[in-house]
Subunit: 139 residues, 2 copies
Amino acid sequence: MTESEAKESGLWLADHCSIAMLGTVDRKGGPAIKAMLKMENEGLRTVWFTTNTSSRRVARLREDARACVYFVDDQEFKGLMLQGTVEILQDPESRRRVWRQGFEIYYPKGIADPDYSVLRFTANRGNYYHQLENRDFDL
Amino acid sequence: MTESEAKESGLWLADHCSIAMLGTVDRKGGPAIKAMLKMENEGLRTVWFTTNTSSRRVARLREDARACVYFVDDQEFKGLMLQGTVEILQDPESRRRVWRQGFEIYYPKGIADPDYSVLRFTANRGNYYHQLENRDFDL
């Protein structure tokens, strides 16, 4: 698999997954994972999520912004790992961008809820695998 | 959700998932994720995988054995994260235990292939979530 094939197949996977795993490091430096709804992705570089401002995940990301985002097709044994960093945004434009109908379940005060935060993940490298092949690439 | 409900529901998820995400930390201390076939789990404490001895993941786990294992039901918004450490085993009993028909695809020399390693993950704590609720527990 060439680098451009890996990027192309990885982009297909990112575009078609509605769920991604967000990997972070905990206070002791060990790994942690949580499944998140992917709100948007812009190519392979940027992935948008939302979360509760009050969550431990946000507190931890403020201390250490390193993260990875993982998309998987476990029927076809395809996976894309993107590694980079996360920004925590609360500006009105970002809030509007990824707000969806029904989000009051998570953020009862609506789009201006102080407990509503937007996570913007930016990747600087990736790895795509399909069955026995895998390929690293820079972004 | 009580701690015992979280453990019971988490165990159901671990028992019924054939795929798990393995989280590790890379050389720079950032998070990394890979989907793995779950070979076996013994309750919530122990999860067995296999991998290539020559893989970067094994090299990295020899340096830093900390890992997390994540099981997810993305239809029902249920997830179980187990945190602990990984041992890399090559003894005949462990090899036999998790060897499956067709594994020659990954380990062409068969059950004694030096490139066949068994990963035994042991958890010391966990977190289970279902929709808006989540609960930590020790193991």
